[in-house]
């Protein structure tokens, strides 16, 4: 059962792969935090929604992987905008705690809407089973490489969007200094809608990528929640490059924990990482600058 030291290269590789996928929803969480200043637990439910949207496209409509992933992004993004506008936006003025608690309630509500439609059964994507590639003593599945490529493209597009487009710059401005941004005439409501679309879309895409590896059910997103938060906190809550660094660290730490812990304790590793970082360096590895 327990992994041995000889497995370390394989574990590190697996950790980097799962970390890259984890980075996608972690960026979503941290982006919402950077602009709207509250930890939105509903990312978990949007990850589930994305996973199911992608699943329906892939199995019922027979779409290939990439269009299915795009649909997962779109579906979760649209639900994210609507649920935030209707449910969370009116509660934000009541303060941080109210908004946070409301996001937990929203998470449970959305999860159960999915359950109402699907039941609790585990579902699998319709993907060809491929033989693993081997080189230099490590194994890689072609499917993993494709997942990694999708995650990497999504992250690269996001960085380009934030860096080079006017809207991306406006988002960074609001995250950096909301009052100054308002003075310059940036519409905060508009930015909130955009951030929710992009961030919850990423959560949905991340949920699908997480689901591709295993099976999906209404709790798919919730099971990943601690790891997603761990990635964002380790990297520095509110920092987008931080979320990437944090996700890779948490991914590798989770895999390396197999050397000393049974696999069921992966989730606890995320919690321990949060405790460790908050005790030693509360601002996270990269600090709190949004970009």
């Amino acid at each position: 059962m327990a992994a041995s030291l000889a497995d370390v290269p394989q574990l590190v590789l697996n950790g980097l792969m799962s970390g890259a996928i984890l980075a996608v929803p972690a960026i979503g969480l941290t982006a919402i935090y950077a602009v709207l200043r509250f930890p939105n637990f509903a990312v978990a439910a949007h990850a589930t929604i994305g996973a199911f949207a992608g699943y329906l496209a892939n199995t019922t409509l027979g779409w290939p992987l990439v269009p299915s992933a795009l649909l997962a992004f779109l579906a979760a993004g649209v639900v994210g905008v609507v649920s935030d506008w209707v449910v969370l936006r009116p509660l934000r003025p009541a303060g941080l705690i109210t908004a946070t608690i409301a996001s937990v309630a929203l998470m449970i509500a959305l999860e159960n809407l999915v359950r109402l439609g699907s039941g609790n059964a585990l579902r699998d994507y319709d993907l060809p089973i491929l033989r693993d590639w081997r080189f230099a003593g490590v194994r890689v599945g072609p499917q993993q490489v494709e997942d990694l490529a999708i995650a990497a493209v999504a992250v690269a597009v996001l960085f380009g969007f934030l860096r080079f487009t006017r809207i991306g710059k406006a988002m960074r401005a609001v995250a950096d200094n909301p009052m100054l941004a308002a003075i310059k005439g940036i519409d905060a409501d508009m930015i909130a809608v955009l951030v929710n679309f992009v961030a919850m879309g990423l959560a949905g895409l991340g949920g699908m990528l997480i689901g591709l590896d295993t099976s999906i059910d209404p709790l798919t997103g919730f099971r990943a929640l601690l790891a997603v938060f761990a990635a964002a906190v380790v990297g520095g809550l509110g920092s987008i490059p931080g979320a990437v660094v944090g996700a890779l660290s948490v991914g590798v730490a989770e895999e390396l924990s197999l050397l000393i812990l049974p696999p069921d304790y992966r989730t606890v590793v995320g919690f321990l990482a949060i405790l460790l970082v908050l005790t030693l360096r509360p601002r996270g590895i990269l600090g709190a600058r949004a970009y």
Binding site: Y33, F38, P39, F41, V87, P90, L91, A94, L96, I97, T98, T100, I101, A102, V104, A105, L106, I108, A109, E111, N112, L113, R115, L116, G119, N120, F222, L225, L226, F229, A230, V233, L237, P262, D264, Y265, T267, V268, G270, F271, I274, L275, L278, T279, P282
Partner: protein, 295 residues
Amino acid sequence: MENYLVAMGVTAGIYALMALGVNLTWGMAGMVNLGLAGFFAVGGYATALMTKAGVAIPVGVAAGAVVATCAGAGVALVTARLRADYLAIVTLGFSESVRIVASNELWLTNGSDGIAGIPGPWRGTLSPGAFNLLFLAIVLLVLGAVVSMMQRLATAPFGRVLRALRDDEDVAAVAGKPVLLFKLKAFAIGAGVLGLAGALYAHYTSYIAPDIFAPLLTINIVLALVLGGVGNNMGAIAGAVILVALLEGTRFAAPLLPFLSAAQIAAMRELLISGLLLVILRVLPGGIVPERISR
């Protein structure tokens, strides 16, 4: 039917205890606790293990409360200096970690099968009806003691400092109050009350398992408190009673929807609870019995 009402009364009493514990940390001190199910679990498991090993029930219950207090102090210690959002994340992480440990450490907690056969006071010698009544009396006694303690705390200088640092931490600090120490104490006491409730629950039902401590329990208690009025001890109790009546009511509604599967019925229930919480936060933020600020 009487038996059923008494059992509902016990559940409402235990929920009220939890709501009181949360009211101290959230309502008075302004610290969110999304992992309250975890502290409830810690108290329940502690007393279950001890009383099954032969310790007297009151000692086990007290130990459950103490263990939960220590766990609360630990969590507060890590996050006391940070903004409230980190506390939300860490407390949720704490309760999930407790759940995972309880599901996996078979030698200690018997995994997801849970611990059965936890002793209750005179369970063997009394009839089930009499046992329920006795337990209701015990829960009401404990509840009365905790309420009077909470009311004392609320009007004592301790409670005033908590409300001050909830409303403005810097002002409280400038007034010379050791803010961190106060937050730590408030969170630890609140966690202790949650542990006490968990211990009582374990002895009442004689059975605990990781499933019971799902995040929905946290939402239930938050709803009870929001419903009754955050910051008000009487509101916490009123909210718990209404919530239990509501939860039991959904049991009778389920047969009216025969076309839904068991999983869908459960989903409808969770949807109702979480939806109701969102609606109340929106339309009745002060709850039924809003906090009265005395001068």
